[in-house]
């Protein structure tokens, strides 16, 4: 009897010696080609959406208009696709950037599950069967490293935790292109397999190379595991998506930056990008002595807030939409049309762009350039009031820019100077 017991325990002790390079080391019954294929196809659609909306966000800054709008001036051909960002529909940037960040958050469990499903391959021996296989594995580092790099920098940036080694704009933009290189190759090489497995299953007699050869008894079916990943995505969606709306929807967004509450009561109680205190704007800067300077071929003009209020006032219902993915619902802004100010500056017809300076003395985007199509839109205002009340200091009192569909930071607050002309 003792001998028999020893013999029976032998495979167990051998199993204890297994290394991750041994396929039998991996014992989850959930892994399999179909499971990986489902997650892969979801990521193909999702990550493509993230890449496209990311490129759109860069275009929305109009980086080719002026250096102050461009955080990656060394982009070279990577800016080949840039175009004049339109002003309509007025919720365009709110939609594209809301999708970019919210879909990114929601895809985290899918990405983690996908990486988990193929991790045995990482340790497979030999490391490369051929030169071609070796190159393919190096390209996988671009894919996996790139995806994780993009997700980590993005998630840290929206939480204002700037741990990463450099400017977020630079890292996230160039990182996206490095990721894309690996992503296209991986898609081209693996999509046919994934489609085949999803359509026809694995042909009889062929092994499922992603499945464990010696699986443990199942505690969760493959369908159950997919449902768990889906539940993770759903939970993230419910606790995050409300950051793109005011009121009750934001209150549902319990665990996400800018979720839960709006700042205080009243007409100015909607999300703020940077408070006046944070950029050291004092009441002395914005009080009676404040003047707006407007420059153009007709000369240089200075206006007090009372003089601006005496001009023809127009209103527009527009949101604030931040690159961090949060946005407000439409707010009712009231003020002077940028095109009217351009006319005063000497451009009565078809005005050019405008260069905007803020009172803000430090921090990025205290200067911004707007393109001619943005100046010409009748909803583009130098706003003095919002929702029927004067702007609060945190929303840019005495005057701020508001342009339809423009990223939040181009809606300069505490405006000091508007220079119309070629940029």
């Amino acid at each position: 009897m003792p001998e028999r017991r020893r013999i029976r325990s032998l495979p167990d002790s051998l199993r204890a010696l297994r290394t991750p390079a041994d396929p039998a080391f991996w014992r989850s019954p959930v892994r399999g080609a179909r499971f990986t294929a489902v997650l892969g196809v979801i990521l193909l659609v999702g990550l493509t959406l993230l890449f496209v909306t990311g490129l759109l966000s860069y275009a929305a800054y109009n980086p080719d208009l002026n250096r102050v709008n461009d955080k990656t001036p060394g982009k070279g051909w990577l800016g080949f696709y840039l175009f004049s960002w339109p002003t309509g529909p007025h919720w365009l940037y709110r939609l594209t950037q809301g999708l970019h960040v919210t879909v990114g958050i929601v895809l985290v469990p899918v990405l983690l599950a996908k990486l988990w499903s193929v991790v045995p391959r990482l340790f497979a021996l030999p490391p490369a069967r051929s030169a071609g296989h070796a190159l393919e594995r190096i390209s996988l580092l671009l894919l996996v490293g790139g995806a994780l790099f993009q997700f980590v920098t993005g998630l840290l940036n929206i939480q204002l935790d700037y741990l990463f080694p450099g400017s977020f704009y630079t890292l996230h933009f160039y990182g996206a292109w490095v990721f894309l290189a690996g992503f296209i190759t991986h898609t081209a090489l693996k999509l046919p397999q994934a489609v085949r497995v999803l359509r026809n299953g694995i042909p009889r007699g062929e092994p499922d190379t992603l499945a464990a050869p010696d699986p443990l008894p199942a505690t969760l079916s493959r369908r159950g595991a997919l449902a768990l990943v889906g539940a993770g995505s759903l939970l993230l969606l419910v606790t995050s998506a409300g950051r793109s709306f005011d009121g009750p929807l934001r209150r549902i967004a319990l665990l996400t930056p800018r979720g839960g509450t709006d700042p205080g009561p009243g007409p100015n109680a909607f999300q703020i990008n940077k408070t006046a205190a944070a950029v050291r704007i004092t009441p002395a800067d914005t009080g009676e002595r404040w003047r707006l300077t407007v420059r153009g071929p007709a000369g240089e003009f200075r206006f007090s807030r009372a003089e601006l209020l005496a001009m023809e006032q127009h209103s527009a219902a527009l949101p604030i939409a931040c690159v961090e993915g949060w946005s407000t619902s439409d707010q009712r802004w009231c003020g002077v049309r940028l095109s009217d100010l351009a006319a005063l500056a000497g451009y009565p017809h078809r005005p050019p762009g405008v260069f905007v300076d803020s009172l803000q003395r430090s921090g990025s985007f205290r200067k911004a350039a707007l393109r001619d199509n943005q100046v010409r839109d009748g909803r583009s205002l130098l706003a003095l009031e919002v929702n029927g009340a004067p702007l609060s200091p945190d929303h840019g009192y005495p005057a701020r820019i508001i342009v339809p569909a423009a990223p939040g930071v181009l809606n300069t607050k505490w405006v000091e100077t508007l220079t119309f002309g070629e940029l």
Partner: protein, 175 residues
């Protein structure tokens, strides 16, 4: 048409020659695709690495290494530990696994927010306090475990009433 009539020439005896295709192991399209990949990655990569080169390389490769060699083994190990603790009651594993996974996922993604790592910067930017998020995370976690417990309870009650009705049926069977 005339070529059809020509009988196939017998295959020449194979000489051992260096075959680039065999050494590469994949088709020519594979090579072209990967060449294009590395060109694009190189073009973007020099721009990505311009600045803190070592830092960016560490972050890029480090994120993959940390995921594969730390995060994944940690959560896989936690799952194995859970199964070991439950012993023969493996049927209960998902009642712990599901809420723990969901809560851990939230913690992983929102750690800077939950741990108030950027409290001052957040308040200066938004004008609201990020204090609430730690409490919210605890509440969501609590709700998830409570829901799981409720589900377990309902299942237990249902199986008990199911068994009872079964025993009620059984005596009437001989009739």
């Amino acid at each position: 048409m005339s070529t059809r009539a020509v009988p196939p020439t017998p295959a020449a005896p194979r000489r051992r020659r260096f075959s680039p295709r065999r050494a590469y192991g994949e088709g020519p399209l594979h090579l072209l695709l990967l060449a294009a990949t590395f060109c694009l990655a190189g073009y973007a990569g020099v721009r990505l690495l311009d600045g803190d080169t070592v830092g960016v390389l560490l972050w890029f490769a480090g994120s993959a290494v940390l995921h594969d060699l730390v995060l994944l083994p940690v959560y896989a190990g936690a799952d194995r530990a859970l199964r070991a603790v439950l012993g023969p009651r493996q049927a209960l594993v998902n009642f712990v696994r599901v809420p723990a996974f969901l809560s851990g996922l939230l913690l992983l993604i929102w750690y800077p927010l939950i741990a108030r790592r950027t409290e001052r910067r957040y308040e200066a930017a938004a004008g609201t306090s990020p204090d609430v998020y730690f409490g919210n995370w605890l509440l969501i976690t609590g709700a998830l475990f409570a829901l799981s417990a409720l589900w377990l309870l309902v299942r237990a009650l249902r199986s008990r009433t199911g068994r009872r009705s079964e025993t009620k049926v059984r005596p009437s069977a001989p009739h």
